[in-house]
């Protein structure tokens, strides 16, 4: 006589929507847009002919939920992004003046305190002024503790 054993289905009921993956790579570049890119800021559409983009790679998927992932860099919170693929997101800097070179880049949720003890350590460095010049940051070999 054959017998079956339990075959559990994924427990959607307890899906974790808060835990974020770790950043595994960061690149920062200044981009000039052929056609002005539009972002919604304080209820208005604003055209950007160029801008700084911070591209992050993560070691897993960012949960899809109501709140948006955000990059926290010092006091700045970057909330606008485009998903390149499941583990790559392009964050748009809408106000460069808020960013200070040398500040740590942390991944969090919009409007929420971010954990400062994320693995790896990536820091913001303002890209050179010329458009379409990308400057990459790779994971440092000896991250500061």
């Amino acid at each position: 006589m054959s017998s079956d054993s339990e075959s559990k289905l994924p427990n959607e009921q307890l899906r974790d929507i808060w835990t974020l993956p770790a950043i595994s790579a960061v690149s920062i570049r200044r981009v000039r847009h052929e056609r002005a890119r539009q972002h919604t800021i304080a209820g208005r559409l604003v055209d950007f002919d160029e801008g700084v983009e911070i591209i992050i790679e993560t070691d897993g998927q960012i949960p899809i939920r109501a709140l948006a992932p955000a990059l926290h860099i010092g006091a700045a919170e970057l909330t606008e992004s485009a998903q390149v693929d499941e583990r790559t997101h392009r964050f748009f800097v809408l106000d460069e003046s808020m960013l200070v070179s040398g500040e740590q880049i942390l991944l969090g949720w919009v409007g929420h305190r971010v954990q400062a003890t994320q693995p790896g350590e990536y820091r913001y460095e303002a890209p050179a002024g010329a458009p379409q010049v990308a400057r990459s940051l790779r994971k440092p070999r000896n991250p500061r503790k």
Partner: protein, 861 residues
């Protein structure tokens, strides 16, 4: 509270019995349905002042009243009254009911019948049909062959079925009145019989009674009832609950047993057995809360054939059968009401005691239950569209609409269309991933369509993967507008279903999560010609900064799940505070509700099982009831605002979990604290004062504001926080001149301020007083108008997951009707409500807790 009858000195008035009530009556009907009479009373019916039926034996008031046959069909405009006679005493005549032409109330024809309960079963021999106009004819077809009919129906009518249903038959109910035939009911397919059926569950009968309630009845089953082992009779039932009468009256210790089966030859179910209890066990009836101004009491549990007696301040003021007993007086706040039941000659030893509250909203009709039309549905895909962010998605979604028959792509309802264009509700889901989020509100879409609203749900699923925050909200708004434009194309292009049928001047929106933010964007950016947005609902919305966050020029409602594990900040409170209340705004703060369970496609609990929640069904009931109340008022002009401002409670909804804020246009604001004139002056520029140890100050009710009281506030307004060192701390807000408030109510938003140390213990409260020109003050306690709820403790989620504490101070609106303000006893100066000069707030509790106040207004009653 139950009390011993013998401890009370209740004064009977043996000459008083209450009038019964008459159900709505319709032209061409040949019966008058009378309810709320004494079991075995006789009924008289008066038509236009002449008694046309005398001494009709009424039988039992439960389950559905007595249909009294008439010699002639009713005509519109006739006036009906009824009275009952019992034990030689005649009641007064009932309130008058005006006979209506059903086409005046339902211009598109009779409501569609509902087979209720369902499903029906093979071998079933009786079927219940609901949603009927009293006096209509109702019949049932199985596979298009008539198998049962009842003429002169009640509002919920049983129809005997012969031959019994076969397996897999398509069962449909129809109704007609005045030669006008209803749309068909939703079709039910008869399900396989099964055997043995579960044992029925008879209720407890009492000595002297003659009627017993049987629960657990299978739809269409044949039941056999035995008394002391002797079979009495068999009967068929539409199921769930059945009330059956027996004679002679029950004797204590007798045994009743009931079995049931579906198909002849099937074995009987196990018996359900009950024993007749003696007089001494007759319980107190259950009674709904009573509020000042009521002229009747409503029972929620009672022996079905009991005489119900109601005493007000010790004197009998009403006696009849349940569930509603009319009173000879209008009750006032503070009156003490005792309700007892008498079964046969057994007088209940325990009595239900209630104190009349200033405000205790009654249960009204079901705002989601207006079932008029069959529902058609269709999916649309209008091709690719590029949104602001540059991404592309198909313009797609689903539409439910009033139709001639249920089903996909069914023709639009011709009778409704002939009356004019039909309004539109547009639903927008949030970001959850997958491809089916737009399907998660199908239950609401069906309800809206069945009442005559086209309900479109826009597919934004692809945008979930685009990323973005405010940009994504803008994209969703683009998709909403693109879908509306597509529908305009169908409407204007003569498309088969929608051509010429959509009224774009009556549009309302409902968005959930990110969709709740997007519905704020749409009115600010839409440029489609001919579109007028009359209202918007934001359910658990985020606030991305994609719009002004100040809903303006349309009705606005937000629903905030207090146990939201995703949008933890309940950002919709900011939208409520920003809305201009033109014509009104409303906020539902729902305890024990999470973010996801309003959408049927979102199966996970975002609070991760860490917080106690109401069921998914209860989430849906809240959205259905309050959402339909909103859409019906805004799009159809129906009188459903009472559910949104707290004057009525929708049935079948956990209203104790729902805390309402409400504000309407053109009312008289005493102080909204928005004037920047400091706490020392109110919005009337009159000088306020603080006394008796009160400390009050204005604060921004915003978690991050510099001048916040503490971080438990999540709105976007300025209000007042007060605390008192003693029981006499009072804040006085005067008017410029005396004001007559006899036809008004005082409204104020208030909340207990959350402070961690105070989370244990009972609720706090306050007094609201009115001071007249002579200095007399009348007070009403917040307990009498619903009471301040405790802050909803959600630390079990926020602590482990976030190491923070987002328990909120969330004000809701309290109504203080002017009739509740009475002169205190033993005072020389009588309070004069025609010359009120100030409103006072007194923090009189010894707990010393802080209370937040905002929007102190005088509102027309």
């Amino acid at each position: 509270m139950e009390v011993e009858r013998e401890r009370l000195k209740l004064k009977d008035n043996p000459k008083l019995i209450s009038p019964p009530s008459v159900a709505p009556a319709w032209q061409c009907g040949t019966v008058v349905l009378v309810k709320n009479f004494l079991a075995f009373a006789t009924l008289d019916i008066e038509l236009n002042g002449a008694v046309v039926v005398a001494g009709f034996p009424a039988g039992y008031p439960l389950p559905n009243g007595a249909p009294v046959p008439l010699a002639n069909a009713l005509t519109a405009g006739q006036k009906i009254r009824a009275r009952q006679t019992f034990g030689g005493l005649a009641s007064d005549w009932s309130a008058q009911v005006l006979v209506k032409d059903h086409l005046a109330e339902f211009p598109a024809g009779l409501p569609r019948p509902q087979i209720d309960p369902s499903p029906v079963f093979q071998c079933g021999t009786r079927t219940g049909v609901a949603n009927l106009l009293v006096g209509c004819d109702v019949w049932i077809e199985a596979d298009a062959v008539q198998v049962g009919i009842a003429k002169g129906a009640k509002d919920h009518q049983g129809v005997n079925v012969a031959p019994p249903y076969g397996l897999g038959q398509k069962v449909v109910a129809h109704a007609s009145l005045c030669g006008d035939q209803s749309p068909p009911s939703a079709m039910k397919v008869s399900q396989p019989s099964f055997s043995p059926l579960p044992a029925p569950i008879p209720g407890t009968p009492y000595e002297g009674g003659t009627q017993v309630t049987i629960d657990g009845v299978v739809n269409g089953a044949t039941l056999t009832l035995s008394r002391n082992g002797v079979v009495q009779f068999s009967f068929s039932s539409w199921g769930v609950r059945h009330q059956v009468g027996l004679n002679p009256p029950f004797v204590a210790g007798e045994q009743l047993s009931v079995t049931q089966r579906l198909c002849p030859g099937d074995p009987e179910s196990p018996p359900g057995v009950t024993v007749v209890e003696p007089c001494s066990k007759v319980p107190a009836p259950g009674v709904e809360p009573i509020q000042a101004g009521d002229t009747s009491v409503r029972l929620n549990s009672f022996v079905p054939d009991a005489r119900i007696q109601v005493y007000v301040n010790g004197t009998k003021q009403g006696e009849s059968g349940g569930p509603v007993v009319g009173l000879a007086v209008t009750v006032e706040g503070g009156d003490v009401v005792h309700v007892l039941q008498i079964v046969g000659t057994c007088v209940g030893h325990v009595v239900q005691e209630l104190t009349v509250r200033c405000v205790a909203p009654p249960i009204g009709f079901d705002p989601s239950g207006l079932d008029l039309f069959p529902v058609g549905s269709m999916s649309y895909d209008a091709g690719s569209f590029t949104v602001t962010s540059g991404h592309s998605q198909h313009i797609a979604g689903t539409i439910y609409y009033p139709a001639d028959a249920d089903g996909t792509n069914a023709p639009f309802n011709k009778r409704l269309a002939a009356l004019g264009r039909v309004p539109l509700a547009v639903l927008v889901h949030g970001r959850h991933g997958g491809s089916t989020s737009h399907l998660g509100y199908d239950y609401l879409q069906q309800q809206l369509a069945s009442m005559g609203i086209i309900a479109m749900s826009v597919d934004c699923n692809a945008s979930d993967a685009w990323g973005g925050w405010a940009d994504n909200i803008r994209d969703r708004a683009d998709l909403v507008i693109a879908s509306m434009k597509h529908l305009q194309t169908l409407d204007g292009g003569g498309e088969a279903i929608f051509g010429g049928h959509v009224d774009f001047t009556r549009v309302a929106l409902m968005g959930h999560s990110r969709g709740g933010d997007a519905v704020g964007v749409v009115p600010e950016i839409i440029t489609l010609p001919g579109v007028k947005i009359l209202g918007a609902i934001s359910l658990g919305p985020v606030n991305s900064g994609a719009w002004s966050t100040k809903p303006k020029g349309y009705a606005y409602m937000t629903i905030l799940p207090a146990s939201d594990g995703d949008v933890r900040a309940n950002n919709g409170a900011q939208f409520y505070d920003g809305a201009d209340a033109s014509p009104f705004k409303c906020q539902l703060y729902v305890d024990h509700a999470n973010h996801n369970f309003f959408n049927r496609q979102w199966s996970n609990d975002d609070a991760q099982g860490l917080l106690p929640l109401i069921s998914r069904v209860d989430h849906e009931r809240i959205l259905s009831a309050y959402g339909c109340a909103f859409f019906r008022n805004v799009l159809l002009g129906h009188g459903t605002l009472g559910f949104l401002d707290g004057r009525l409670r929708p049935p079948g909804v956990l209203t104790t979990e729902v805390h309402l804020s409400y504000k309407r246009a053109k009312q008289w604001t005493i102080d909204d604290h928005q004037d920047g004139n400091t706490i020392a002056k109110n919005s009337l520029s009159q000088p306020t004062s603080q006394s008796g140890g009160l400390l009050a100050a204005e604060h921004t009710f915003d978690q991050f504001a510099v001048d916040r009281f503490n971080p438990s506030f999540f709105g976007a307004t300025v209000g007042m926080v007060a605390r008192s060192e003693g029981k006499a701390g009072t804040f006085r807000s005067p008017f410029a001149k005396a004001r007559d408030i006899t036809k008004s109510e005082v409204w104020v938003r208030a909340a207990e301020v959350y402070e961690t140390a105070n989370l244990a213990g009972p609720a706090t409260g306050f007094l609201l007083g009115l001071e007249d020109a002579n200095g007399a003050i009348a007070w009403v306690d917040s307990e009498g108008v619903g009471g301040l709820p405790r802050p909803l403790d959600r630390r079990a989620f926020d602590g482990p997951v976030w190491s923070d504490d987002l328990v909120k101070t969330m004000p809701n609106t309290f109504r203080f009707p002017s009739r509740c303000f009475k002169s205190p006893p033993r005072t020389k100066r009588r309070f004069d409500p025609t010359r009120v000069v100030a409103v006072l707030l007194r923090l009189n509790r010894p707990d010393g807790r802080a209370i937040a106040f905002d929007d102190l207004q005088i509102v027309k009653a």
